[in-house]
Structures are given as structure tokens and as C-alpha cells.
Amino acid sequence: MQTSFIVQAIQSVYQDVLTHEADIEKLDREIGDGDHYINLKRGCQTLQQLCPELAELTAQQALQKIGMTLLSSVGGASGPLLASFFITMAKTLQPTASQKDIALAFAEGVAAIGQRGKSGLGEKTMLDVLIPVAEQFKQMVSDGHSALEIAQQLPHVAAEGLESTRPLLATKGRAAGLGERAIGHLDAGAKSCEVIINSVCRLVIAQQNSEQ
């Protein structure tokens, strides 16, 4: 993975988060406390300001820095979770990482979220997007799919994961207190992760297309 890609991804994600303000904010108001969008936006803004500095680092260093920055700028439940993802990914990712290594590192990052959050699939959290995406990512890499194919496929997995949170009772996070009343609502963190996955995949697709 190249640092330049990471920097571009930050720009792309930031734009897409801004675009989805209304959806994300509404979901956390409905079954949370209404701050998820602003937390995420603050994280993105801080990262964006950091981009010149990040550009000078190796991908591994950049991911570590991103993790620490999210940790101190996002707050809330999502801050330490997203931070754990990046910090763990940084730890696992070698400079010579193959596509397979990236998929593995991604999965490690997602697993770190589950460890930090003591959570797993089906608890109506961001993991309902991230775990299926991580699985599919690994699977497609091992099946030999191209980056373009993977980037075209993952957004569908993310969208399905997001949609899967709708009928769920929440058992982790703030919505856990709601019981049956959480049913019928999407999870805010799942939505923002879906937006992020989408954004990064679109960036990959654009790059792959322009390379061809």
C-alpha cells in the first residue's frame, strides 16, 4: 500500500462523509445520542490537516499516525474503535505487503475493533458492515480476483451488512438500552463504515480504470 493512496483516501472519505451528513446524523439521533456524524467529521478534518505530514511517512507509519489521531480527535465509542483498527493494521502491515497481506491486515484491524468493543457480528454495530467486508476481501484475494473486481464487489457487501442491522436488537453500544425499540433502525456506525468502504472502493476503481 502506498502512502499517496492513503492520503487520497482521506480526502475522498472526508468528502463522502460530508455528503452523508444528514443520513448519519439522523441514525445516531434515532437510536443513539446524535453525535456520531460530528465525531466522524472532526476526525476527518483533523486527518485532512495532517495530510502533508502523512505524505512524508511510510504507509505503516501513516496508518499508525491515523490511528493515534483518530484516538485523540474522535472521542465517543467510535474513536477508540476506529483507532484500534488503524493501529492494528499498522502493526500487521509490512512495507512489502501484497494484496493478500492487505486483506489480512484489514481483517486484523476489524478483529481489533471486536476486541476493544467486546463485540461481534449481529450486535447492530459497525462490525456488521466490517466483518462481512473483511471476510469477502480475504476470500476474493485468495480466489485470485483483481483489485478492480474486489473494489466493485465490496460496496455491495457493505450495503448488505448495513441493511442487516435494521431488524436487529442492539446488544452493544448506546442503542443496547433500547430493546425492541431499536428494531427497524439502521446503526449509525454501520452506515458511516459503509460510506467509508464505498468511498475507498470508488477511489480504487477510479485508479484501476485510469491505469488501464
Partner: protein
């Protein structure tokens, strides 16, 4: 949204600056990362640090001072503070006997304080508060929320720490007080998170949200607005029922805290107190100590919570001891 603000992004820091200037005799503000310490550092005691999202003032910054907290870490509105705040605060106030974090049981707070605790090099421990009986505890959830009972934990634990008790003693006492607290809240209106600009939930003119959380999280159920006495009866019963299920006995009496969520006037809070004291009398429960006012608020929400703390001699002694903070003051 109608609030006294300049820019939404500046609310927290401007408010902290006003707070620190208005109480410069008691507290000191540190920025980037944001935390509040006592104006005069304590010596040779367990350093008590709490924190959480802002919007619950005076909790926690208003409880920094002699007899209560050593530091508070305010997050953004309704957003847990981040570990760098807790680390910087710990560094500033640690004074030889370790650090005790008092954390309300919300996923975000727990995880951020947990990461800080993992990174911290001095001996430290954490007391989680989870006094909210509204959401039924069940094995598959992250557990109950920490609400206004936290004030009682911070006051009494603050007192114990002041005596030079060690970290283990503080943890044990903090956990005991927390276990003996039960709280139940009710909202008449929603709060509005400034950055969101709209009310967190919609509620009709004749409705109340029973069991609401201090961030406007939905509670047990949406009910019809009823006479205050009926509402209070249900709240007290919910707490007593919870006590029963956890084998907590209020037979030695209780500390009764009637806490406003911010927009409910004192006149109504005293009326609720009157109703609560009648209810407790019917249950044969003595009120040993009382506190009525806005102590754990929810931005601009109208509503209130009732907290009972099943007290004993030790708890009462630490409740009565001198305290000198912006939000609670007696004996000094």
C-alpha cells in the same frame, strides 16, 4: 435551535473558559488536550479523575475541588473524552498514591478510559458507575448506564480519598456506593445537540419518555403525561424493585437526589421531591440526606431523575464531609 452560542465548534472551549474564570479560586483549565484540575494540587492521596461527554454540567468539571475530584476530562458535547486527555490529567494530578478513574458505563467512555488506563504508567484503577435502573440489565447487553448516582459516588469517594485511603480501598468503596445507588429518569422534552441543530427525539405535548437516558436516549417506554405523583410513584417503584432484585436494602435509610435535566425549574423539582418523600414514607424508608437541583443534566432537556442511595454510616460520613467545588459546597 435556540442557544447562546457563537460558533457551534467553539461552544465547549468558550464554556470551559468561562467556567474556569468564574471559579478561578477552585479550578484551573488546561487546553489541548482539555482537562480541568484543582487550582491547588493535592498531596499524597489517590488522584480521582472523572470525565465524559460535555452537556451534563455541573458533572464532572463542577465537582473538581477539595473533597471531590482532582481532575475532570470533558469531551465534546455527548462525546466521550479521548485517552490523551486522561493521560495528561493523570500526569498533572497524580501525587504518589495512584490514579482512580470514575467512569460512567457507556461504551465510549469505557473504551476511551480503558485505553488511557492501558497506556498509563502509574498504578491506576477504574470504578464504573451504572446506577440507571431504566434499562433492564441483561446478560447480553453492555450493562446499565451511569447517570446521576455518579454525583454521589464522586462526593463520597472524594471524601474517602481525602483521608489518604489507598487505591484498593477507594475502588472497594466506590463500587459499594455505586451498587447502592439506583436512578430513574423521565423526560418531558428532548435535548438538542448543538452540532445536530435539531431535537434528538420527537415527543408530543401529552407524552413523556419514561426511563430516558442523560443523552436523550429513549428509555423504557413512551407514556402519557400524568400527574407528578403518579410519575414519581413509578420511578421510586422501579428503583426499589431494582434494589430488591440486587439484594440492596434501603433499611438504614437513603440519600435522595432529585436531579433536574436542566430545563425543569426548581419549583417543579421540589414538587417532585415532595412526592418522592411521600412515596418513601409509605415504604417506611427514611430519608437521611437530600439533594435537589441540576447536578447531572442533559443539555437543555426538561425532565428529572430520582436517585436513591441506600446509605450506611460510612456513606453518610463521607457525604457530610466538607466539599468545595463549583457545583457542591459545604463545610468549607
Amino acid at each position: 435551535m435556540k442557544k447562546f452560542i457563537n460558533q457551534v465548534d467553539d461552544i465547549l472551549v468558550e464554556s470551559l473558559q468561562g467556567f474556569a474564570k468564574a471559579h478561578a479560586d477552585i479550578v484551573k483549565l488546561h487546553l489541548s488536550p482539555n482537562f480541568i484540575t484543582r487550582q491547588h494540587k493535592a498531596h499524597n492521596k489517590v488522584a480521582l479523575i472523572s470525565g465524559g461527554g460535555s452537556g451534563h454540567e455541573p458533572l464532572h468539571s463542577g465537582f473538581v475541588g477539595k473533597g471531590m475530584l482532582d481532575a475532570a476530562c470533558p469531551g465534546y458535547v455527548f462525546t466521550s473524552p479521548s485517552p490523551d486527555q486522561m493521560l495528561a490529567a493523570a500526569e498533572a494530578v497524580e501525587c504518589g498514591k495512584g490514579v482512580l478513574f470514575i467512569v460512567k458505563n457507556y461504551a465510549g467512555d469505557v473504551m476511551n478510559f480503558e485505553m488511557a488506563a492501558e497506556m498509563l504508567s502509574v498504578p491506576n484503577a477504574t470504578v464504573l458507575t451504572n446506577d440507571d435502573v431504566a434499562v433492564l440489565n441483561s446478560s447480553y447487553t453492555t450493562g446499565r448506564r451511569g447517570v446521576a448516582g455518579t454525583v454521589i459516588v464522586e462526593k463520597t469517594l472524594g471524601s474517602l480519598a481525602e483521608t489518604g485511603a489507598d487505591l484498593a480501598q477507594c475502588v472497594a468503596f466506590g463500587e459499594k456506593v455505586n451498587q447502592r445507588c439506583g436512578s430513574m429518569g423521565v423526560a418531558l422534552t428532548s435535548c438538542t445537540v448543538p452540532a445536530a441543530g435539531k431535537p434528538t427525539f420527537d415527543i408530543a405535548d401529552h407524552e413523556i419518555e419514561m426511563g430516558v437516558g442523560i443523552h436523550g436516549e429513549p428509555g423504557r417506554k413512551r407514556e402519557k403525561l400524568r400527574p407528578a405523583n403518579d410519575i414519581v410513584e413509578d420511578m421510586i417503584n422501579a428503583i426499589l424493585h431494582d434494589f430488591e432484585s440486587r439484594n440492596i436494602s434501603p433499611s438504614q435509610g437513603v440519600i435522595l437526589l432529585v436531579n433536574g435535566f436542566a430545563a425543569t425549574p426548581l419549583m417543579e423539582l421540589y414538587l417532585l421531591y415532595h412526592a418522592a418523600s411521600d412515596q418513601l414514607k409509605q415504604h417506611g424508608i427514611n430519608i437521611q440526606r437530600s439533594l435537589v437541583g441540576n447536578y447531572t443534566t442533559a443539555l437543555d432537556m426538561a425532565g428529572a431523575s430520582i436517585t436513591l442511595c441506600a446509605s450506611d454510616a460510612e456513606i453518610l460520613q463521607h457525604w457530610d464531609s466538607p466539599v468545595h467545588t463549583a457545583g457542591l459546597r459545604w463545610g468549607i
